[in-house]
């Protein structure tokens, strides 16, 4: 029986600003046995510090202790790489540091990917994802794809610089409920719109829930181009995807009710965050 550890709890990056020992004192993963909690913090800091030679060692230790691949990805790996992203944004990290952390992620994901596929409990749905034409960025989309797989989806990752006609072909072949477009550049984000137009022109729009994500992407962009959901990060993208194939599965792609329901999920998360902050403040 695999260990059950709560991972999708909101966390505050403030917890990761100092060092391993400080972050150990926070209440993240308090529901895990002490040695697992420590291991999670070590893995998180391994990614922040980019020490990729040790990453697989931590991963294997965790797996031996019956932690699931899904928990590792959604837990310490997600928080570690989020902190790397914060440091990059704040000019504390530059490309060399980010590339080292990316290596940790790639090495860990190589071990975890086959397990994710094996771990899948039930088939919840099918997703086609790809980085739009002209854009070569991979890591963010790969993380979302793996998190979706971890959540039980069958994911067809079309790779990078995917032309609209390749999306169409894959949609016809795999019949997904959801299609996701990634773009990391302001110069390529427009291809999300172009691809969506082709999907509509091909008469496929209503059968599909369209997700968009990537650094320059925002809810406003999602609204402007008429996509159904914006995933600010991998966790919320998975939440929204799950809702799309369960309680919202009868809604058609492009329906205003679907769009509103997606925004409700963001709102719920914001509220939970505010509550947690208030509780922390009161405590």
């Amino acid at each position: 029986m695999p260990l059950q550890i709560e991972t999708e709890k909101d966390f505050d990056l403030e917890d990761l600003q100092y060092d391993f020992e400080d972050s150990m004192e926070t209440d993240r993963w308090n529901d895990a046995p002490a040695e697992i909690k420590e291991l999670f913090h070590l893995l998180e800091w391994n990614i922040i510090d980019g020490e990729h030679g040790d990453t697989v060692g931590f991963i294997n230790e965790a797996l031996k202790a019956t932690v699931t691949a899904r928990t590792l990805i959604a837990g310490p790996m997600a928080t570690g790489i989020a902190e790397v992203g914060r440091r990059f944004k704040m000019d504390e990290y530059f490309l060399p540091e980010v590339m080292m952390s990316a290596k940790c992620m790639h090495e860990a994901l190589a071990v975890l990917k086959p397990l994710i596929i094996a771990e899948k409990s039930e088939e919840v749905g099918t997703v086609v994802v790809g980085t739009v034409q002209g854009d070569l960025h991979d890591i963010g989309k790969k993380i979302v794809a793996m998190m979706l797989e971890a959540a039980g989806f069958t994911v067809h990752d079309l790779g990078v610089t995917v032309p609209p006609e390749k999306f169409i072909e894959a949609i016809r072949e795999h019949k997904p409920q959801i299609v996701g477009f990634s773009a990391l550049l302001t110069t390529t984000m427009n291809m999300q719109w172009e691809t969506l137009k082709v999907i509509t022109a091909e008469g496929l729009r209503e059968e599909l829930k369209v997700f968009v994500g990537g650094a320059p992407i925002s809810q406003a962009w999602c609204d402007k181009i008429g996509a159904d959901a914006y995933g600010a990060d991998a966790l919320i993208a998975v939440d929204k995807a799950k809702a799309c194939v369960t309680r919202l599965s009868n809604l058609k792609g492009g329906a205003p009710e679907l769009h509103a329901a997606m925004l409700d999920i963001d709102r719920e998360r914001e509220e939970a965050k505010a509550e947690a902050a208030a509780a922390a403040g009161a405590g």
Binding site: Q17, F20, F94, P96
Partner: protein, 461 residues
Amino acid sequence: MTAVIGRAVPPQRQRTLDALALREPDKVPVGLWGTVEGYQNLRQGLGMGFNENPRNYRTGSTTWTTDVAFEFDLAEKLDVDFLRVSIGPPGGSPGFRELGLDEIPVPIQVPTPPDDAEINVDEWGVVRKWTPHENGGYYEMIGYPLFEATSAPIEEGLKILEEFPWPDPWDEAGWQDSPVPGMSLREYCKYIKEETPFALMGQGGRGGLFEQAKYMVGYAKIFSDFIESPEFLEAMLVRLTDLEIEFNKAFLSQCGEYIDWLRMSPEDLASEKTAFLSLDMFDRQLVPHYNRAVQETKKYYLGKNPEGKIQFHSCGAIPEQFMRGLLSCGVDGYDSLPPKVARHSNPSAKKRQLGREMFFYGGIDVQETLPWGTTEDVRKEVRQRIWEMGHGGGFLLSSSHRLEHDVPVENTLAMIDEARSYGTYPLPEEPPEGADTGEGYEPWDPNPAKKKKRRKPKPTA
């Protein structure tokens, strides 16, 4: 052709020299920089004859780019002040050898190209694929000659560097031709100096240090090499620095006394947001090499032309602290001043930070204004930039990168015309609409809170 009488310095060259020496000239000097397609487009728009096959132009700067020297007739017609010329690839443009798909000597980092793909390899062993677009095309890098060497055991890596077939900077084929058919590069530069009114910038390097290192190992590896393979990186940079110095000396041996300033091989060090590397890595791992490259080149150049200046190129937002590192190496000026980068390092910030110490070249936006703006947008930006950069001299106006095929001719003409009228000294004291006066500016912070760090346990075996 304007005759140059006696020894008087023509006004075009004089105003350029004044700007380089941080003196206020009579007018802000203006020059052009472009790709072959941009140049063809310009000539066509001006009703001037041009060669329709881009491959028929002598390109330079580095072997792979499509920089082209602007010809005298166009320079005269447009009333510019300075020209640029570079050493050519040996064997003439375009400076590479075509390869069959089965001849590619290194592992390729992209999906296998189709059978009819046009693949070539340059004098450094970098493999590229011709990637067409609606108005021309570009060479996309797909294979890197030292991709594997950088992660090999260090002794092996050093041996590969030792045995690598580096280009020969003293290959005479590099200066046997020039932008004017039948003239050697030396004859061409001498002609410009003695028979035309234009100032001349030259470039001898065909690679670079950090820049060429990126092409040798690939973008995916070069950044982590700063942390993981510092010894290999150091040895490679020593070799690339040796070559940059020799490229410059070889070029200067032919043309040194005729060129007014020298541009080092371009080095991209920053994104639009900030530097690629931390200041600490830059200072420790790159500056010593830049210092040697600039110092050795400058020593040789000043022997040929005591007034010669050295210009350094990077795109992106290079913060002041990095620029100071370059200044300490002996750099005199900087191009190409992209205006839409982070405000801590935009043109106005650079002038306020460094304007008394170095000259600036470039500045008119090629990302939006020149290709997509109206002529009035262009004029407005020219006024802003001249007001921000021109006071006290030290500003040479040009596009912030190469003019490409999508720049309308009327925008190029508007740029030059506005520079001529607004850029006449003394410049107005009052800022024109939209100029960055520095109000509310925040400098880049090189010292984000240093994190205390403790030893962490290793995974158990």
